[in-house]
């Protein structure tokens, strides 16, 4: 009985690996973004952690060939909150076997995009939801897949600026001299 169980387990493992290999399709996942807490009139850094699934690559934000589709992020910030200075990482150069030494500039695995979050001085305190999307076009070493857009969202919490009160002036203070 133990032998049968072991053989069955081995077969299940093999078939699972086979099914996973057959079933993979290109995708980018965006890790959950913690609430960005920022003071009104101040600024905070947004960090987006993205991952291309194994076996695929996407063009970087600056592909060498102008006909290739760059990976881009779109962020729809609510009124009064500015999200700017989007910074994409450098891509990695990739030369595929069939490319005659032509380089591609790609992201594969994990990569991080950052941006500045700046609420206006007039925006209301509270939490606002930001909707975003990453647009990419993925390939593996032999074939390419149509462009896709993957949505994501996160919250921005606008808080009161922390006011550091100056110590009250004390007329009796020995350090104050009229």
């Amino acid at each position: 009985m133990k032998l049968i169980s072991r053989i069955t387990l081995a077969l299940v493992s093999l078939l699972t690996a086979f099914a996973v290999a057959q079933g993979s399709s290109p995708n980018i996942t965006v890790a959950p973004v913690p609430t960005v807490v920022v003071t009104r009139g101040g600024h905070a850094q947004l960090t987006l952690e993205l991952r291309v699934n194994r076996g695929f690559h996407v063009n970087s934000n600056h592909p060498y060939d102008e006909l290739l589709m760059p990976t881009t992020l779109r962020l729809n910030a609510p009124d009064g909150i500015m999200i700017a200075n989007l910074k994409y990482p450098e891509g990695q150069d990739l030369v595929l076997p069939f490319m005659n030494n032509q380089k591609l500039n790609v992201y594969s695995g994990a990569f991080v995009v950052t941006a500045d979050v700046r609420p206006a001085r007039t925006v209301a305190f509270g939490t606002e939801r930001v909707h975003g999307a990453v647009k990419f076009q993925a390939c593996d070493d032999r074939q390419c897949f149509p462009p896709r857009t993957v949505p994501f969202e996160f919250d921005v919490k606008v808080i009161r600026p922390v006011v550091h009160k100056a110590p009250a002036k004390n007329a009796d203070s020995p350090h104050i001299h009229p």
């Binding site: 069955t8 079933g23 069939f98 032999r142 074939q143």
Partner: protein, 181 residues
Amino acid sequence: MVGLKRNVVVFGVMVMVLAGLLAMAVYRRSLPIRGEVVAKGKPAPEFTLTDLAGKPLALSSLRGKAVVLNFWATWCPPCKQEVPWFVEMQNRYGAQGLQVVGINMDDAGDLKDVARFGAENGVNYPLLIGQERVAQQYGGVDSLPTTFYLDRSGVVVAHFIGQPNGPSEVEKNVRLALGLP
């Protein structure tokens, strides 16, 4: 006794999982896989598409010729890599009855890029503006490049998804379509 019952339950669960995975594997094997001939022996679905100048071309108008139907896009590096191979095939076998046809799957707004790419690469065969409807007729064309080789009667003799290993692999299928040894 309890141990035996537990083993039977574990064994039963494993068999069910195994059966499920087997069914999934069999289903996936029935889907087009890169490089596999999946529609061999079937007539290629009829379509009419327009070229970049707006001139319509019906597949049926090419009956009597061996046809290479190449689905491609300018955003697809492996597609662009094989374009010179198709140009060479058209040059070499055109007189013997070969007609290469490129079906472009770029967005409609990118057709200027398509025309420029064709001109820069000396494309000597029609570039048609693809439509999703036609892609669906040909199995969905989930990835590019996807190429169908049709014999002179319009029957699919080879179907290749992805980048071939080189021009010799393209030529082998072209000769198959032309009925050449």
